[in-house]
């Protein structure tokens, strides 16, 4: 069963073009995200995603030079978002609410 990743409930995102400002409902901090991180977070907010799904999406939006590193970027961004408390791991195939 692959792990899936979902945005935690209560996140709010502000799109300011090149930068996104995100409200962390757990800590009440505001975080500054670059577009790649914002895309991952938005994806994870719409539905629980597997790492492969995130990688595929990143490959679409990254510039050609970076496409090859999509897998790495996906992993790194997920780890950072998890560390910030914006994304949580949901076990198995089905995202369940806590």
């Amino acid at each position: 069963m692959t792990d899936h990743y979902a945005a935690v409930e209560g996140i709010r995102m502000l799109d300011f073009g090149d930068e996104w400002v995100v409200f962390n409902p757990l800590s009440w901090d505001a975080h500054l995200l670059n577009p790649a991180a914002a895309i991952v977070l938005e994806l994870a907010g719409s539905a629980a995603q597997s790492e492969q799904e995130i990688e595929a999406c990143l490959r679409e939006v990254l510039v050609d030079a970076e496409k090859g590193a999509a897998a790495e970027h996906a992993r790194r961004l997920l780890d950072e978002l998890i560390q910030l408390g914006l994304v949580r791991t949901v076990a198995g195939d089905v995202a369940t609410d806590r």
């Binding site: 209560g10 709010r12 502000l14 300011f16 073009g17 090149d18 930068e19 996104w20 400002v21 409200f23 409902p25 009440w28 505001a30 500054l32």
Partner: protein, 311 residues
């Protein structure tokens, strides 16, 4: 009840202060001032002259009592203290500084309890229905610039508090005497010789302080809100002319959040209100040594914005 304070006899004001208190509507807040200090009434007449007295017995947001501090100190270097709702939370001041103590005490109380809005630490003026928010970085000359803008046709909303509504991020006036410090007092006195200034208090913990009375037209408009417009981070640099640089919205968000009295206590409410304010504003860093030039520049920036849509 439509007489301005400037037109009332000092004795009437004194009697009010010593009794139930004088109630003032500052726009976004109402305050009640009580005192048995004789020197206060003529000071209020000067710096709150354009305000009218509200009827006693209303709901006030802050009730401040200014009085002599008791105890043995009464006789050796007497002091004044300020009580908010009966409690002393503020260090006492020397007896000859009633107005600074009152103003700082009321600022403190407002900043602590106004969690019904996002409260920025900023000067705010308005033109064309749009607000110009000037966050208060130390040494930035925020008050000087705010007072100067107000003297050049911009409507003053506040020199200290940006009151941002949760529902629509519009700015509401919170009109108070503008606290000018040190050189800024002379600068404004020269810049706008018609302004009404209270006395200079030379030895406060912020240097010399004087208070500028808000103009009648601005006080009359104290319930007129303004849409978001500009956020200007000022920096006074004597040698600079006027240099303007755009600030990214994300950056402006962060800097305003840090320059807020209560953003950190508001959670999503504050985030949304600030986000909407930023989204509706253009943000710039302004380095200026030339005050007139800075005002002209700000004027051209705000005039270039489209008129705000009906809210």
């Amino acid at each position: 009840m439509s007489q301005r304070i400037a037109e009332l006899p000092v004795e009437t004001l004194r009697a009010g202060l010593a009794g139930d208190g004088l109630s003032l509507d500052l726009g976004a807040a109402r305050v009640r001032i009580r005192s048995d200090v004789d020197a206060l009434a003529p000071l209020l007449k000067t710096v709150y002259g354009s305000f009218t007295l509200e009827p006693a017995g209303g709901v006030c947001d802050v009730t401040a009592t200014l009085r002599r501090k008791g105890g043995l100190r009464r006789f050796v270097r007497p002091q004044l203290e300020i009580l908010i709702d009966g409690a002393v939370d503020f260090e006492p001041f020397p007896i000859d500084t009633p107005l600074p103590l009152l103003e700082w005490g009321m600022n403190y109380a407002l900043a602590q309890r106004a969690s019904w809005c996002l409260l920025l630490h900023a000067g705010v003026v308005e033109r064309g229905g749009r607000a110009i928010v000037l966050p208060a970085m130390p040494g930035a000359g925020k008050s000087t610039l705010t007072a100067a803008l107000a003297a050049r046709g911009f409507r003053l909303l506040s020199d200290e508090f940006g009151v941002v509504g949760f529902a629509d991020s519009r700015l509401t006036p919170l009109l108070r005497p503008v606290a000018l410090k040190n050189q800024s007092i002379d600068v404004i006195a020269q810049f706008a010789p018609d302004v009404v200034l209270g006395p200079r208090y030379p030895k406060t913990h912020k240097g010399t302080v004087a208070h500028l009375a808000p103009a009648l037209t601005h006080v009359a408009a104290k319930h007129v809100t303004a849409a978001p417009g500009l956020v200007i981070f000022p920096r006074y640099v004597a040698s600079a002319g006027v240099e303007v640089e755009p600030v990214t919205r994300a950056r402006a968000f962060a800097r305003l959040a840090v320059n807020s009295f209560n953003y950190e206590f508001l959670g999503a409410l504050g985030f949304d209100a600030l986000g909407r304010l930023i989204a509706g504003s253009e943000a710039y860093q302004l380095r200026y040594g030339d005050l007139e030039g800075a005002i002209a520049k700000i004027g051209s920036l705000i005039d270039a914005l489209p008129p705000p849509s009906a809210s």
